[in-house]
């Protein structure tokens, strides 16, 4: 027998619908604008495979770097009291505000031949712009803020008492972080990483400027789509639909994790009538 449900259970979905519909509508329209034939043509296009492969490689590296280097930054922001971290936090937001094309210029000004670090890099024989590392760098800068802010929010909600107990049980600060903080913050970190990964995958403007549009070297999917747009709008749409479809497949398992973990931890009771139950 299904327990009877209180009448309020369905109100939130109604309220949630307008926004969800708004977000779904363009995607549906996009899918509707391209036939299976278009998509087959897109998948056979010479730009397609190198771009997809480059996007996959670079975004994986980007997200890995973001998680490795961004987690300490998030932890610092979340736990450090005082005014300095608040200012740094705004600094972390700012790359989002910069229009991507300008971010590309900014990266050239920072790492380019005549940029801030250009001479130093040239001295050790490193040239970054217009190479695959430049693609990664561009993605890093635009996507990292989303991960950092997401995991800082997750870290802020860890009960400090649990860290204290872990350390009283002999774990070092690092040990307590690894064995208590990380598992508890995991849902928030994964959610942030998913956003960052999506952002890196869609990154276009900064990459175009800073890395250029070299097939196989710097031409990611968004750049390939841009190039296709030059000659054939339908081809561009078909490529975009493939990109979105592939992303959906990768995001699905990623998104399942936080919900599973939260459910176990908080154990919000599925039988509880003041939570909505599946219907």
């Amino acid at each position: 027998m299904t327990p009877p449900q209180p009448p309020t259970a369905r109100v939130p979905l109604l309220a949630a619908l307008p926004m969800l519909a708004l977000l779904a509508l363009p995607l549906v329209a996009l899918a509707g604008a391209s036939s299976p034939g278009d998509i087959a043509v897109g998948a056979r296009h010479p730009l397609f495979l190198p771009a997809l492969w480059l996007s996959a490689r670079t975004t994986v590296v980007t997200v890995a770097i973001i998680v490795l280097a961004g987690t300490p930054a998030a932890w610092w922001l979340a736990t450090r009291p005082g005014r300095a971290p608040r200012i740094v936090e705004v600094l972390v937001d700012l790359p989002i505000v910069v229009p991507p094309a300008v971010m590309g210029i900014a990266l050239l000004e920072a790492f380019g031949r005549n940029g801030l670090l250009g001479p130093a890099l040239a001295a050790v024989g490193v040239r970054i712009p217009f190479t695959t590392p430049a693609v990664i760098l561009a993605q890093l800068v635009v996507a990292a803020p989303f991960y950092i802010q997401g995991s800082a929010a997750a870290f802020r909600r860890i009960d400090p008492e649990l860290i204290l107990v872990a350390r009283s049980l002999g774990k070092s600060a690092a040990g307590a972080f690894l064995r208590v903080v990380l598992p508890l913050a995991l849902p928030g970190m994964i959610a942030g990483a998913a956003l960052a990964w999506a952002r890196a995958l869609g990154e276009f403007g900064a990459t175009l400027f800073f890395a250029g549009n070299f097939t196989g070297v710097t031409q990611t999917m968004p750049l390939a789509i841009y190039t296709a747009l030059e000659s054939d709008t339908r081809l561009a749409i078909a490529l975009a639909v493939v990109l979105v479809g592939a992303s959906a497949l990768l995001l699905l398992p990623l998104r399942a994790v936080p919900a599973l973990v939260s459910r176990r931890l908080g154990a919000p009771d599925p039988a509880s009538p003041h939570h909505r139950s599946p219907s």
Binding site: L162, L164, L169, G170, A173, L184, L265
Partner: protein, 246 residues
Amino acid sequence: MSAASWRVDIVVRAGDFRVAARMRGDAAPVVVIGPNGSGKTTLLRAIVGARAPELGRIEVGDAVLFDAKGEIALPPEARRVGYVPQGYGLFPHLTVAGNVAFGIPAAAAPSRVERRRLARDALAETGCEAIANRYPATLSGGEKQRVALARALIARPAILLLDEPLAAMDPAARRTLRASLARRLLDGGRPAIVVTHDARDVFALGAPRVYALEGGEIVQRGAPEELAASPATGFIAEFFAAGSGA
């Protein structure tokens, strides 16, 4: 100082509240009593290293855990202080067995099998074998408290701080755990500071010395019988009267 003796002489502040305590002990458990808000938890948290005292010194055995003058403040993991907080402090992402095994020092049980056996034994001692594979979110209040106690005992710390460790337990569990705790503490020769609101705990643990805290100050110390016989304050009188079934 002998390996099992300890000395706490600190002034610690929490917000506007200030606790000043001078205590000492050896292998036998020491009990701290006092009304709600008298500073018992604040005192324990200063010893475990959650909060730095303003003044004073904490020594356990040969180790100086804290010394304001010498600018020594060992991090919690270096203090070897076992702590059962009032709110249990269970790790929600670990099963009951995982929580207990968390405390096993690497040196004590190098192998996985050995660790699991140790954890199972500790759970058996607190009557929690049946819930070993459950997550804390699904436990009853008393079950949580038993797990927290088992976890602290297994870590074999240099000193054990227990904050009302039996408050959520049923009378039967209280009696058996009190006895098992007393045995553990005395056999192990390891010091402990136990906070309680129940005079029966004081006697059952065989604590030779009780400190009574009120408003952040120690208002009386001595053997439980002494305090019961000539209580310095109304609270102490009531504490021991209630414990004898009045």
